[in-house]
């Protein structure tokens, strides 16, 4: 104590329970300052925002995404899980650009080696989702995993501009009242079964098969106008105003020589895939998909400054059936606006990534993208581009999150992802 006993009140202590913080401090009334009321009011106004951030991180963002590794936020686990810790239910909140806020719940069950999640969210009649995923880690002498997923969602305010890099002048698009984007809403049901295997340290083999049913219709909300039928001549858009049911199976092989996905690792990435799609239950769709991506991660000046050129080529190979407009190749890897579709897509990018701090990197990037009816039709004319910068957060073994801002002639795009990426079967989630 450093003080003589004459200063002390003396009284024997009793009771045998832990002392509460209030008891421990001996303070029966806290100090107060003149500035406190104003701060309390301001803080109260900020409370909803803090709550939203807490919800997003403690439930939706972290806990949900980390299910891939069967990892649950410990503090959230105390609140939302059964006493055994196997099953938990979380409130969730999604806010996505251009759509209404979506609230719901996510259930997680984790009983090794199984992991399962079920999430449901509601943001209106045309903005809702129910999704279930199950994953089973396998011991086959090499790392392997099997997964089964089911999804139902409704989205509205989606846009279709037609085919081609410059849809407004592409002769395949039959516009009624001049070029423009047609709005639509979509109801989607999908089941995906996947199997992933890592026979070598740098090699992954991914086999997956999905059944996707889509129903496309005009949006109910008059704010989403014009509709597809108002933009394009009726009947010129295959798959609009009807239900499509497509079974798609794919084999992908990925070689990645980077030691890990964390930070500024160097190496090469090569991935190729091929798949076949066939309509079912009377759906006349039939086509194939193929593509590849190549990327190099090379040190530039320093070990921790990495330059990575990358090219992603995706192609849709027509068969003897129809191709619904939603199945044309899009450009999900383009960091501008993904609003061009055609048979072939090519996205080239150059990223410069450098070390900022432990588990934190910065990134400058530029993307160029084009689509074309065939590989031979790819030109450098009318290339779309996006540039941006951002920050990457990673763990000692994998990526964890990205925050980036991308600018392109079409506008500014804010990108945010959080969570450990799925190791296997992620090509089925391109849209």
């Amino acid at each position: 104590m450093g003080i003589t006993s004459c200063l002390l009140l003396t009284r024997p202590a009793v009771a045998a329970a832990p002392v509460t913080p209030a008891e421990q401090s001996g303070i029966e009334q806290k100090a107060s300052y003149g500035s406190e009321p104003a701060r309390a009011v301001a803080n109260a106004l900020l409370w909803p925002f803090r709550l939203m951030i807490d919800l997003v991180f403690l439930t939706t963002g972290t806990a949900g995404a980390l299910l891939q590794d069967e990892q649950i936020v410990p503090r959230a686990k105390d609140f939302f899980f059964t006493s055994g810790g196997e099953i938990g239910v979380f409130p969730t909140l999604f806010v996505e650009t251009g759509t209404s806020p979506n609230i719901g719940a996510r259930m997680i069950a984790s009983i090794e080696p199984y992991a399962a999640t079920l999430r449901a969210g509601y943001g209106g009649d045309d903005e809702n989702v129910v999704e279930g995923r199950m994953r089973l880690s396998l011991s086959l002498g090499v790392p392997a995993a099997a997964s089964l997923e089911g999804l139902h969602d409704r989205r509205t305010g989606l846009g279709y501009r037609g085919l081609g890099q410059t849809p407004e002048v592409d002769g395949r698009n039959q516009f009624r009242n001049g070029p423009g984007a047609g709005s639509f809403r979509e109801r989607r049901e999908r089941v995906v079964a996947g199997f992933g295997l890592r026979p070598l340290a740098d090699l992954e083999i991914l086999l997956s098969s999905s059944l996707t049913q889509r129903h496309i219709a005009d949006p109910v909300d008059p704010d989403f106008a014009p509709t597809i039928d108002q933009t394009f001549f009726p009947g010129s858009i295959v798959g609009a105003s009807r239900t499509t049911r497509i079974v798609y199976s794919e084999l992908a092989v990925r070689a990645d020589t980077r030691v890990n996905r964390n930070g500024v690792a160097t190496g090469f990435l090569l991935e190729g895939y091929g798949g076949l799609a066939r309509g079912s239950l009377g759906d006349p769709s039939r086509f194939g998909r193929t593509g590849f991506q190549m990327a190099a991660f090379v040190p530039f000046v320093r070990r921790s400054t990495v330059l990575s050129p990358k090219i992603v080529v995706d192609a849709l190979v027509p068969g003897d059936g129809e191709i619904p407009f939603t199945e044309y190749t899009g450009q999900p890897t383009f960091r501008g606006f993904d609003n061009r579709r055609d048979f072939v897509s090519a996205v080239a990018s150059l990223d410069y990534r450098w070390f900022l701090g432990r588990f934190l990197d910065a990134r400058l990037f530029t993307d160029v993208a084009t689509v074309a009816p065939a590989m031979s039709d790819i030109h450098l004319d009318h290339l779309r581009w996006a540039v941006g910068f951002g920050f990457d957060l990673h763990t000692s073994s994998s990526e964890l999150g990205r925050i980036a801002v991308a600018a392109s002639p079409e506008g500014v795009h804010f990108l945010f992802t959080l969570g450990v990426p799925a190791g296997f079967g992620d090509r089925q989630h391109r849209d």
Partner: protein
Amino acid sequence: MRRWLLLSLAFGLSCSGYHPARFAERPPVLEARDDQPIAAPRWRWVPEPVYLSEVYLHRPLRETLDLDPYPDADDVNSFDDVVRSTWFAPQKMDLGTIARGPDTSGPPRPPFTVVPDGPMAFASGGFTISDARGQKYEIMVDPADRPEMLTAAAAVAARLVWGLGYNTPPVFIAKVSADDFWRSEGSSTDVTAILKSGPAPVNGLYRVAALSWPAGVLVGRTSESGVAGDDPNDLIVHENRRALRAITVFASWIQLHGLGPEKTLDRYVGAPGEGHVVHFLVGLDDALGTGYVVRVSDLPPGEGGGSSLVRFLTLGLAPNPAPPPTQIAIPSLGQLEPDVDPGAFRPPMPWEPAFRLLPPDGYWAAKRIAAISSSQIALAIDAGQLTDRRARRAMQVALERRRTEVLAYWFGRVVPLEPVALTGNRLLLRDEAVANAVAPSNFTDYRIEFLTGRGGSAAEAIFMHPKGGTIELDLPAGAVEAAHEYLVIQIAARRGNRALPRTFELHLKFVANKLVVLGIRH
């Protein structure tokens, strides 16, 4: 006079609308009594992705939207002292106690059975054994090029940290032979290879550090925030524990590398259902500069130079010359710097208790360090059994100098007064900075205010400029009168041209016709 006007103005502004805290009329709590019997808690594990998203994304965003300042520590009593608990267990600080160390079963006794439990208490790895008595130890060897360095650092730092009042498993220096070890079923540890990876044996015996665990069960790393939901004894959120916040100060003193969750471990001690959780500080082989050793063979830094902001602005291309290699003349001594900047010392990655370190927490920690004398430091160094006298000397000099710098910094962040005696209406206060010779005497001005319990003035302020390190104060009649209801003595100070931040507060009241101290705040 002008400087007093300015000081008074600042003081007045800070006090406008100020109502002092009110302490209850009861003695300070000395024991947290958080060792009540509980069921063994679940294993606690914070996955790395969860931790990183929490400290790098969630918390910064949330705290940007929170206007409240960090709260004062909750594990302190009315005398601004950390109470004895499963987190902090201060020792009697005499020379014999420091020389003997904690009462344990001592060094391991052969034969040793290597068990499959992974080592968790040494930062540099190792393996776990059970000795002839069944007592569990973690074993660690030195790197081949720096004999005695890690083992000595672990033993010395463990003794110092224990002397500071923290639970840490004692570390013994032992000489062992490869033949002493038996491998249990399930263990794949190649003990011979590990022993041979270190310095050559002397007379056939290898030098190792043996960390002794008390009987019990490990329950994982200590969560840096919140409380453990399944531990009814854990009532104070960890980020608001001074015992945790202050570790940053101790780490700066002993140059502990890698401060963070990896330096904490919880252990359930006692029979199932009758035990409780004890919180340990571990990974002390990273102390005393061992974690900062630079070898000639090390690659130059891969990252750009400067702070994170500089690296961001320069795209990571700023020059970053390789640091000079650590001296090799005294291989048993790490890169132990004789100087420290206590204000700049930070964990390598965010750790919430360190972020919430407030001046009163740092001041308390500095007092704990000040209580360890040069003789006690020397006795702690003896625990390392360093054979090179130059290493002992250098360690002693560095620890003493770093101690002075840590004290000077944290004693300058508050008004470092402590009450010594209250006789009648006469109060004697001691300035810890002057008493510990980190601030000159006859250099400090004090302005002493007397406030009622509601914050009003109870008597005219008094200005003092004592020549020594103590303030002798006769309470004015108005203050004595006010003390029948409640009196707060508030003291601001200025050393030379620098006003010390914050104020010292002493809360007094007449109880049974005797003036007593109810509370202290720095």
